[in-house]
């Protein structure tokens, strides 16, 4: 079974400052890793994903994440945040043997960008 832990439930950060949202996972099999963003009253939008290859993954809106297999982590980073980045961020895993879109999500990190 897979599980995802997002270590910070709330992260306040000033505009134009850097931010890191932490994600750790546990799995007995190899996994795909994802970050999704959810704006208020909206569904989920994919920010980026790690499937294989380079451990540094770049996504939309200037976000990037680094896969660290030894630490089972997939932390999300952005060097300079904007007000519009205020949202809920979810880390998710899906195992390679999965035959369908069965994602396991963390509990989310609420990012608040302060002007």
């Amino acid at each position: 079974a897979q599980s995802v832990t997002q270590l910070d439930s709330q992260v306040p950060v000033f505009e134009e400052a850097p931010v890191e949202l932490r994600c750790n996972y546990s799995s007995s099999v190899s996994v795909y890793l994802f970050w999704y963003v959810q704006y208020p009253n909206q569904g989920l939008q994919l920010l980026l994903k790690y499937l294989s290859g380079s451990t540094l993954v770049k996504g939309i809106n200037g976000f990037e994440a680094e896969f660290n297999k030894s630490q089972t982590s997939f932390h999300l980073r952005k060097p300079s945040v904007h007000i519009s980045d205020t949202a809920e961020y979810f880390c998710a895993v899906s195992d390679l043997a999965n035959t369908g879109n069965q994602f396991y999500f963390g509990t989310g990190t609420s990012l608040t960008v302060i002007p």
Partner: protein, 113 residues
């Protein structure tokens, strides 16, 4: 092109009632998955359907059921509603369900009183 559309957007039901939620996938997508997102939590997988066949089921009671129609739209049914069923129900679609990316709708907010 239209994205994943869900209806209704909001509804209120009484305990013990039954509810049906609807999802239309992106044109060309044949797989639909359903997730429940309780306030303050991440989405939890309920069902996945592909070509009208159930492909996966999460850890939910038998009160939850779903089906997929020939046009690939889907319905999620919940019987004997409990207060704890109050949540945002998300639908996601993809071409075959085996891809690594799914596209989510905006969800149906269900409140059970």
């Amino acid at each position: 092109d239209a994205g994943v559309t869900q209806s209704p957007t909001h509804l209120i039901k009484t305990r013990g009632q039954q509810v049906t939620l609807r999802c239309s996938p992106i044109s060309g997508h044949k797989s639909v998955s359903w997730y429940q997102q309780v306030l303050g939590q991440g989405p939890q997988f309920i069902f996945q359907y592909y070509e009208k066949e159930e492909r996966g089921r999460g850890n939910f009671p038998d009160r939850f059921s779903a089906r997929q129609f020939p046009n690939y739209s889907s319905e999620l049914n919940v019987n004997a509603l409990l207060l704890g069923d109050s949540a945002l129900y998300l639908c996601a679609s993809s071409f075959t369900g085996g891809e690594t990316e799914a596209f989510f709708g905006q969800g149906t907010r269900l409140t059970v009183v």
